[in-house]
């Protein structure tokens, strides 16, 4: 039996009737067409499907869409504002925090969460908090450099960094 859900995704409200077994990642990709959230392993290991659910990083291949009823969701599509890259996107570009880019949306959403929790992480803390995101290309070195740079820029820019999803900031 289909069930009605209401969610706010990147600030826009949506109401749909979905099958209970529909996973949040499929809801985002197939129903809303937000294909920036990737599916890597599909078994909860790789983190490519990471989005923010009420400000917390989750693997959307392990959440049912019905479990997200009433929640605020942020995906990689919500990072840039008015055509301007989010500081995290900018830093990943400049520091070569990506190669093929497959893992990148998930890594960046995890980064939003980790920097909201701790704006001044050490490299070791960055590695710990990104443990759930696998990257086959970069060797992680440049990912850590990108996160560090993004953190520095977001601290330096005004108290409320532009473009960080509101619910992440409120955490």
């Amino acid at each position: 039996m289909r069930q009605a859900i209401h969610v706010t995704v990147n600030g826009a409200e949506h109401g749909y009737e979905v099958e209970p077994r529909l996973l949040l990642v499929h809801f985002l990709r197939d129903v809303l067409g937000l294909t920036g959230t990737h599916i890597g392993c599909d078994t909860g290991q790789c983190g490519a499907c990471t989005v923010l659910l009420d400000g917390r990083a989750v693997k959307s291949c392990m959440v049912l869409a019905v479990q997200a009823d009433g929640a605020k969701i942020s995906t990689v599509e919500g990072l840039a504002t008015k055509g301007e890259l989010h500081p995290i996107q900018q830093a990943f570009w400049e520091k070569h925090g990506l190669q093929c880019g497959f893992c990148t949306p998930g890594v960046m959403m995890a980064t939003v969460c980790l920097l909201a929790d701790n704006p001044t992480p050490t490299d070791e803390q960055i590695r710990e908090q990104l443990e759930g995101n696998l990257c086959r290309c970069t060797g992680y070195q440049n990912i850590v450099a990108a996160v560090r740079t993004a953190g520095e820029r977001m601290r330096a820019s005004a108290a409320a960094p532009a473009g960080v999803p509101a619910q992440a900031r409120a955490e």
């Binding site: 996973l23 078994t43 693997k59 959440v63 995890a110």
Partner: protein, 294 residues
């Protein structure tokens, strides 16, 4: 990948959840954080005709102090536990353990009750729950009962919860007492992150610095988590020098039905249990000497 079809209910009252768990034919399962159940259902290793999502039942979530104990609702997430100043101060061993579970995303969703009810042999929490002598509360159609940690885990992926019963809360005696220290150490599986072996140790010193009480829980090594009774009795009343700790730790794998897999043989697991027990005891003793709850 997606799970086979099921009906879904998300009651907001525990009584409604209990009713749903009785009132169906076929396989009716509780859904908490979904971090074990949903991957299993996607792989079709588990199936359910109906899922009763207990995540919207407010009374099952939260952390409160109750005299000399901290009571944690079953659907309280790992993340909630890490964010709790009360847990950090009163049961630092739990924070030490939860920090090492899975990854940031899994900790956002996974719950204390889900981990215990699932009773994965590589789960981290069972070692700690055993070492602190926690008490589980379960509710079913016949009412509510409490289960001591020692009686809770009954085998691989099995607990003493009955069909249709919901684990509602976990009561952990506080550890912030004089001359008491604790530590959780694990050997992480390099791919899954689960404990190949994990050891939780609590040491309470007498005024003269000898061991008044030691409690040790071991997970991962065997098909179910167990207290290491041989280690505990070998420490009772002893002066805690390195040789004594090493001697006591040599009993760590006694009575365990050691698991074996391509990553870690039974022999390696038995060895890890001893090494991690010695190290966890040494860390707990150092903290016990450092001050209350250190």
């Amino acid at each position: 990948m997606y799970p086979a079809e099921f009906d879904y209910h998300a009651p907001t009252a525990l009584a409604d959840a209990l009713h749903l768990l009785q009132g169906h034919d076929g396989t009716v399962k509780v859904l908490a954080g979904g971090q074990s159940l949903l991957p299993l259902m996607k792989l079709r290793l588990a199936d359910a005709s109906t899922l009763v999502d207990i995540g919207r039942i407010a009374e099952l979530r939260g952390i409160r102090e109750d005299g000399d104990a901290v009571v944690i609702g079953a659907t309280t997430t790992y993340r909630d536990i890490l964010d709790s100043a009360v847990v950090g101060r009163r049961v630092p061993l739990l924070v030490d353990t939860v920090r090492q579970i899975g990854d940031m995303q899994v900790r956002s969703r996974g719950t204390i009750g889900g981990s215990l009810a699932h009773a994965d042999p590589g789960g981290d929490l069972p070692a700690t729950i055993l070492a602190v002598d926690a008490q589980m509360t379960a509710a079913g159609s016949g009412g509510t009962r409490t289960i001591a940690a020692r009686d809770f885990f009954t085998g691989m992926l099995t607990t003493s919860l009955n069909e249709g019963e919901v684990l509602t809360s976990v009561r952990l005696p506080a550890l912030d007492q004089a001359r008491t220290g604790s530590a959780y150490l694990k050997h992480r599986h390099p791919a899954s992150g689960y404990a190949v072996v994990g050891v939780a140790a609590i040491v309470r010193l007498a005024a003269d610095g000898t061991c008044q009480e030691a409690r040790v829980g071991v997970t991962g090594a065997g098909s179910q988590a167990m207290r290491a009774g041989g280690v505990e009795s070998a420490l009772q009343g002893k002066a805690l020098d390195d040789a004594t700790l090493a001697d006591a730790a040599s009993h760590a794998a006694e009575g365990l039905d050691l698991l074996s897999d391509p990553y870690a043989s039974a022999e390696f697991r038995g060895h890890l249990a001893q090494v991690l027990t010695r190290r966890a005891l040494a860390a707990a003793v150092a903290r016990a000497r450092g001050g209350p709850g250190a």
